[in-house]
Symmetry: C2
Subunit: 100 residues, 2 copies
DNA sequence: CAGGTATTTGGCAAAATAGCCAAACAGACA
DNA sequence: TGTCTGTTTGGCTATTTTGCCAAATACCTG
């Protein structure tokens, strides 16, 4: 397969991968309301802080979130508002599945 | 965490997982043009037909595609047109990343 | 029914991902 | 500087995912 096409497919898949975990979905939902520090997200997710930090790193690496250090806290926020529209679509899919 | 919330997060993550692989991204792109038989998709993807069949099974299980057997071929098609809007959004994300 | 094509399934090995702990780091502030 | 808080990184094991082959299945056609 053409290397260029392959790269494009991998780039797209990387973004979906960054969303393909329940904790990361929760993180996106939280960030939809505005920025959050790692500590807030850790509490919500209910996992070890190192685990949450690694999730955030995956999401940052995929371009889904931005981070900003202020004092000794790091705040994350959604980089792409359109991500939220994904979620509406997913909701539609799920509703549709329920009505079978 | 509330079991209900957990189920919702997992349901959403399942859909993203079904998109989180380069071959499956390619399959969605192909199906955007209309239904395809497994043999067509196998040729495009360039993997073993059993591999492609398993990818399709993941996607079907997540509710992304529908299958229909006609004669001795199985045709797959996108179940949710809004999935394609996902892709537009992803494209925006990628463009944005490029311009850094 | 026999043989052919198209697809799915079982099984296994390789690769990728997840999650915890402990250790390292960074910044604030006495 | 020493210590405290918040975060990231390294390292390890456990789990999940991927992809091939071989075998099973489904349907058509002679």
């Amino acid at each position: 397969m053409d290397i260029k096409i392959k790269n494009r497919l991998e780039a797209r898949a990387k973004i979906f991968k960054a969303l393909a975990h329940p904790s990361r979905v929760l993180i996106v939902e939280e960030l939809a309301d505005g920025e959050r520090c790692v500590c807030d997200l850790t509490e919500k997710v209910g996992a070890d802080i190192s685990t949450v930090s690694k999730h955030l790193s995956v999401m940052k690496n995929a371009g889904l979130v931005l981070d900003e250090k202020r004092a000794n806290q790091v705040f994350y926020r959604l980089r792409m508002p359109c991500i939220l529209k994904f979620f509406d679509c997913v909701e539609t899919v799920l509703e549709d599945l329920k009505n079978e």
